[in-house]
């Protein structure tokens, strides 16, 4: 029972982990990308389009499908789609110095629009009765788990029973953490986020770092959308189903104090908080709605407490949200 709850929490937390790892990378360069919810939609729908086309090309027959291609095509589509969104964001905010909040919010409107539009159009193409696209075959390839996990009891269920995108999320978070804290590239990136003028004077290519951080961050975040469609919903895309998980991912960044390793545990905790109302007996539907508030309340508390304690290493990047213009004094 407990093992099942934990497994479920991890499954629910993974889209948030992808989203917040991506957002951390972006925020470390000093850009508050509020477009993440839209980017995650685009990541999801790009993967769906890739999978849809591949399934069509194989005549909707599992036997014609190659496992490597079935995984690789949606994966690459998702990465390319969300990177394009990241590129739009960085072109506007870095090169054109547009306001980050406005650009991000517009990108979220745009991205959710793209997701639902292509989702709706594909649904129409399939002529299905249900308002959703079913990609069970591709999802089948994404849901392969280790064969011996079931034999190992609770240990197997908690640690070994997951799909590869789950492990990938944790690995990506660990790699990002390593790069940020232990390498020169990470040091440079943090310098850009803290004080771009100083970084610029030290010979760091500020523009390049900002562009790369935003695009790579977006690509990571987009995978969260892919995981949601291919694993969590077993390959069923329905419009607006992804909901406000993107905003939760941004909340998680604060909760994790801009540390990807903290985000790993934070995402599992958020997953559990999002789901806890299903496991407490005797809750009415009304009280369940109150319980869904928990992740947000927890985030606000963390935000308040960290700002009250004023510990230097727990603060957001110094120039987060501020545009950088080299020739401005």
């Amino acid at each position: 029972m407990i093992a099942a709850i934990i497994r479920r929490a991890i499954l629910l937390g993974i889209p948030l982990l992808y989203g917040s790892t991506g957002e951390i990378v972006t925020e470390k360069s000093g850009h508050l990308n509020l477009g993440i919810p839209g980017i995650m939609y685009v990541g999801g729908i790009s993967g769906v389009i890739g999978a849809f086309l591949y399934e069509q090309a194989c005549g909707n027959n599992v036997e014609n499908m190659n496992a490597v291609l079935a995984i690789l095509i949606p994966f690459l589509c998702s990465v390319v789609g969300s990177m394009l969104m990241g590129l739009i964001y960085s072109f506007l905010t870095v090169t054109l110095r547009a306001n980050q909040n406005v650009t991000g919010l517009a990108l979220t409107t745009f991205g959710i629009g793209i997701g639902n539009f292509f989702g709706g159009s594909l649904i129409k193409l399939t002529n299905s009765e249900m308002p959703s696209i079913v990609l069970t075959k591709t999802s089948g390839f994404y849901s392969v788990t280790l064969p011996f996990a079931d034999d190992l009891g609770w240990f197997g269920e908690i640690f070994l029973s997951h799909e590869f995108l789950t492990y990938l999320a944790v690995i990506v978070a660990l790699v990002v953490s390593f790069v940020l804290n232990r390498t020169r590239v990470g040091l440079n990136l943090r310098a850009v986020g803290e004080n771009p003028a100083t970084a610029d004077a030290a010979g760091i290519n500020v523009t390049k770092y900002k562009y790369l951080a935003t695009c790579i961050g977006s690509a990571i975040a987009g995978l969260g959308g892919l995981q949601y469609v291919m694993v969590y919903t077993d390959g069923v895309w329905s419009n607006d189903a992804f909901g406000d998980r993107g905003w939760l991912a941004i909340a998680l960044v604060i909760f994790a104090l801009w540390k990807p390793t903290m985000a790993i545990f934070g995402s599992f905790l958020f997953g559990a908080l999002c789901n806890i109302h299903n496991y407490i007996d005797g809750l009415g539907v009304a009280t369940q709605e109150l319980f869904k508030m928990l992740p947000y309340v927890v985030t606000v508390s963390v935000l308040v407490i960290t700002s009250m304690r004023k510990k230097r290493e727990h603060q957001p990047p110094e120039s987060l949200g501020l545009p950088y213009f080299r020739e401005e004094r």
């Binding site: 745009f110 539009f117 935000l303 308040v304 004023k310 949200g321 020739e327």
Partner: protein, 373 residues
């Protein structure tokens, strides 16, 4: 050959960007207009690719979608257009004082929603015990107060502990939404449906037989008041100074904490009022989607309107036009309804981007050379 050597020696970049002096207002507006037109052309091309329709048909359909067939004397869609513009403008006005102070109030959605929730509660619970005029007063006051409280909580923490307000206000939205969802389950009409379908009592009065006229009038007054408040009052001046530089504000003896808290009280209160107009004035019901993302759109309107209530009228009208127009295009050409979001997104991104050409100028190396020579 020789030229190349000289260039290498100088290491001059191909181009560089410089800040412009203030551009003539009509030039700036030409650029913005051009941005909107280019964006619309772009949208038109996309529409043709998607639906294979005739290029110009798209725009005609958009116009009909926003205003209806005015020639045939039908004003239903026109009223709807005015109502939606008014509500969007109202929320944009609400966030503007905060933005001018560089306080990123991303919580208008929640502040308006909590105001609407309080309206709904007053309409349902107090209509038996209070006479109608008193009920109206109580409804408006509680809604405004609720919005103000929702807005001032992040402001207090910002003023005293520098808590990041963008994220705080963002989170407050979802807390408000869940509260509404909770309340809708508890007090569902009809009972057990999980929704508040329609509240029969405590509606705001209808003026002149037009359901939307009251909202439009209230927001017209609000626009004028806000324009005066921002431009001519002492408070407005303090907001501008705090927004430019908190250090300067402190130096000239402005109590920065007080200004932040007071401004967010006002910002939240106006949001609460709009929530009240939405719930008690038009919808007569409340759900988590009552504000429907307008709180976020308002941020863009306020920014694109450069915190100027006059320009914000145009911007809200533009966005509502795009939204309802694109919805009609989607409907006519059997596209998905989310087409409207894409259109709005594209136009906003273009307009946000074009500000660059108003504020900066790109100087190329060749131009520089000629000047030197």
């Amino acid at each position: 050959m020789r030229e190349q050597v000289v260039r290498k020696h100088h290491h001059e970049p191909l181009m560089h960007i410089a800040k412009r002096d203030d551009m003539a207002w009509w030039k700036a507006w030409l650029i913005r207009l051009a941005a909107v037109l280019i964006a619309l052309l772009f949208v038109g091309v996309i529409s043709v690719i998607l639906n294979g329709g005739v290029f110009f048909e798209t725009y005609g359909t958009m116009f009909r979608g926003a205003f209806g067939r005015l020639g045939s004397g039908s004003t239903r869609l026109l009223w709807k257009f005015l109502q939606e513009t008014a509500i969007l403008l109202g929320i944009s006005l609400a966030v503007t004082p905060a933005f001018k102070m560089k306080f990123w109030n991303c919580g208008a959605e929640g502040q308006a929603l909590i105001g609407g929730l309080m309206s709904a509660i007053c309409m349902m619970k107090l209509s038996d015990s209070l006479p109608y005029p008193l009920l109206l007063v109580v409804t408006v006051i509680t809604s405004v107060a609720a919005g103000a409280v929702w807005g001032v909580i992040p402001a207090i923490f910002k003023a005293y502990y520098k808590t990041n307000e963008t994220l705080f206000t963002l989170m407050m939205n979802y807390i408000a939404m869940q509260l509404v969802a909770y309340y809708a389950y508890v007090n569902a009409i009809p009972a057990g449906s999980g929704q508040i379908q329609s509240i029969d009592t405590g509606h705001l009065p209808v003026i002149g037989g037009q359901a939307y006229l009251l909202n439009i009038l209230v927001i017209t007054v609000l626009t004028v008041v806000m324009a005066i408040y921002l431009k001519y009052s002492k408070h407005g001046y303090e907001i501008a100074v705090v927004g430019e530089s908190q250090n300067t504000a402190r130096y000239i003896g402005i109590n920065v904490k007080k200004v932040i808290i007071r401004t967010m009280l006002i910002s939240g209160a106006v949001c609460g009022l709009i929530g009240c107009l939405l719930v008690a004035g038009t919808d007569h019901s409340v759900n988590a989607n009552t504000v429907g993302g307008l709180g976020f759109t308002a941020i863009m309107v306020s920014w694109l309107g450069q915190f100027n209530p006059g320009i914000m009228i145009i911007m809200s009208a533009l966005i509502v036009f795009l939204d309802s127009g694109a919805a009609k295009v989607a409907d006519t050409f059997y596209l998905n309804g989310s087409y409207a979001d894409i259109v709005a997104g594209i136009v906003i991104l273009f307009v946000v981007g074009c500000e660059f050409f108003i504020r900066y100028t790109v100087k190329f190396r060749h131009a520089q050379k000629e000047v030197d020579a």
